[in-house]
């Protein structure tokens, strides 16, 4: 079973690696790049919200901080925005740390609410601190690389790194502790888990990779403003939907979710016109009602039921 999953992952990776050679159309590549960026954000959110159970309504804060780190490097210092890919995630993690230290001592919705506030605070700050951030006018940069193919491979590398690191964290002691905190914080404490610390262990990489996706966005789109990168519904809430759709607390769930979300979003937008958001909303409701664990989450359950049925067949091979 494990081997089969590994082989499957390997085949998909090879397909992902050679895909741009066969798809030469910029629009299709653009969609794939967006999918990978969203998969990175979703996977990061999933580590914190899915595995550690600390739901964040404000991942736009980390995304925007990463994006603006890259943007401001160009704007103020004239340094290549690619350095933002390194610095942005670090700044995002630094921003996350005090929030975690304060909110993770409490249980319940405090962290979610604090994150909701954090995203909005950053949006307003970056609009109003115009002398530093160029305010609502945003930052326009000259992209150094214009080939979509290059962005595709950078995006793919970023996604693989995020998934790999998340996978390693989840399949270690830290992962076990995170899930036990999600399942029952009192029980975790009684087993000697320092809960505040381990929630922070989930938050920092989550903020880090979301910040990286933000810096990637600046490089790729070449224009950012606070309304775009700190957007509540288009970033913070969207990432939750991506993860819910794909599968909470699964390795590839957020990637599957991002693929379906972006793909359907594009189809609805071109075919349904102004009604696309409505149909989208209905679809999300249906998925939450009938696939509460997301597509990948329910897949495992469906597989298990099938396996059990096979076992109980009398004389079955």
């Amino acid at each position: 079973m494990k081997n089969r999953n590994m082989i499957l992952t390997g085949i998909l990776l090879i397909i992902a690696a050679v895909l741009p050679i066969f798809i030469d159309a910029p629009y299709q590549l653009h969609i794939l790049i967006l999918i990978m960026m969203w998969a990175v954000i979703g996977t990061s959110w999933n580590l914190l919200g899915g595995y550690a159970g600390q739901v964040s309504f404000g991942h736009a804060a980390f995304f925007g901080v990463g994006a603006y780190t890259a943007g401001l490097l160009v704007f103020h210092l004239g340094i290549s925005p690619w350095w933002g890919m390194l610095l942005g995630p670090i700044v995002a993690a630094v921003v996350a740390l005090p929030i975690g230290l304060i909110c993770f001592r409490l249980r319940g919705p405090y962290f979610a609410l604090a994150m909701l506030a954090l995203g909005e605070i950053f949006r307003l700050l970056f609009i109003n601190l115009a002398s530093f951030t160029n305010g609502a006018k945003g930052i326009l940069i000259m992209p150094e690389i214009t080939s979509k193919m290059a962005y595709y491979y950078i995006g793919l590398a970023m996604l693989l790194l995020t998934v790999l690191i998340t996978y390693l964290i989840v399949h270690s002691k830290i992962g076990y502790y995170m899930v036990s905190i999600r399942e029952d914080q009192d029980a975790a404490t009684s087993l000697g888990v320092p809960t505040t610390l381990y929630k922070i262990y989930a938050l920092l990489p989550s903020a880090f990779f979301t910040g990286m996706a933000g810096a990637f966005y600046t490089n790729y789109v070449a224009f950012i403003d606070p309304h775009i990168v700190f957007n509540l519904s288009n970033i913070s809430v969207m990432v939750i939907l991506v993860v819910m759709l794909g599968g909470v607390a699964t390795t590839w769930g957020p990637t599957v979710g991002a693929a379906i979300y972006i793909f359907l979003g594009e189809i609805f937008r071109t075919t349904l016109g102004p009604a696309n958001v409505l149909i989208f909303g209905v679809l999300v409701c249906l998925i939450i009602m009938f696939l509460p664990n997301g597509i990948v989450g329910e897949l495992n359950i469906i597989k298990r039921i099938m396996a059990r049925k096979k076992e109980s067949l009398p004389g079955g091979a």
Partner: protein, 239 residues
């Protein structure tokens, strides 16, 4: 130096003293029972020892060290494990993952934690349910899982809270057998239990409390015949 000692411990919730001025000592290797009617403060004592609640006043010593001021997760690290009266399984984790979560306190290696968990699964007789999700287990198994998970942290003192409550006589017997097995490994046990038959059979000494204060302390037989205890359980007419 006492192995474990509670000194003049008081816990108030607002105006209500759930535990008032309670003191007792536990010796290494013994099974120490705490009994008392509903609401007499038994579970609160456990919550104070494991630091789930802060003390209003008093001191708790374990192996000569004062432990009532250190955070809850450190208590477990020092070697005091606990179970919960209302079981708290890690619901969406399998039995072995639940126990591994406990085993990780003493190791960081997945392999060692899994090995330890397998040993404990055998010890507690959970081997048929290794890969079952905890939320699907019936109550007797959940209670056993609770003990198993706590044992995985390699405690030297374990606090068992109502391990036999809600079990039928046969299941109770199995639980009692498990408690005896735990004791044989050298672990000291403090047990809170409602069912008198269970307590009389396994405890070396019993502390009876009511309204958060001691009413009697001694060997099971002495406790069973103690007029204050009978009064607390059955009322004045029977004392």
């Amino acid at each position: 130096m006492n192995y474990f000692e509670i000194k003049n411990v008081t816990k108030r919730f607002g105006g209500l003293a759930a535990v008032s001025n309670l003191s007792f000592q536990v010796e290494q290797g013994e099974i120490f029972g705490i009994i008392g009617p509903n609401g007499s403060g038994k579970t609160t004592v456990f919550n104070l020892i494991s630091r789930f609640f802060p003390l209003t006043s008093g001191e708790i010593y374990y192996k000569g060290k004062r432990i009532d001021l250190i955070p809850a997760h450190k208590i477990c690290e020092m070697g005091i494990g606990r179970t919960f009266q209302v079981v708290k399984p890690l619901r969406r984790m399998s039995v072995i993952d639940n126990i591994m979560a406990g085993a990780f306190l003493r190791t960081s290696s997945i392999r060692k934690a899994r090995h330890k968990a397998e040993e404990i699964i055998d010890f507690c007789g959970l081997d048929k349910y290794t890969h079952r999700e905890a939320k699907g287990l019936p109550i007797p198994l959940r209670k056993r899982l609770e003990i198993a998970r706590s044992l995985a942290t390699e405690p030297s003192l374990i606090l068992l809270d109502e391990t036999c409550a809600g079990l039928n006589p046969k299941e109770s017997e199995e639980a009692i057998a498990l408690i005896h097995r735990i004791r044989k490994t050298g672990i000291t046990i403090i047990i809170v239990e409602h069912i008198m038959k269970v307590m009389m059979g396994i405890s070396d000494r019993i502390l009876a409390i009511n309204f958060g204060s001691e009413i009697a302390l001694g060997k099971p037989k002495e406790i069973a015949n103690h007029p204050e205890v009978i009064k607390a359980y059955l009322g004045d007419a029977y004392a």
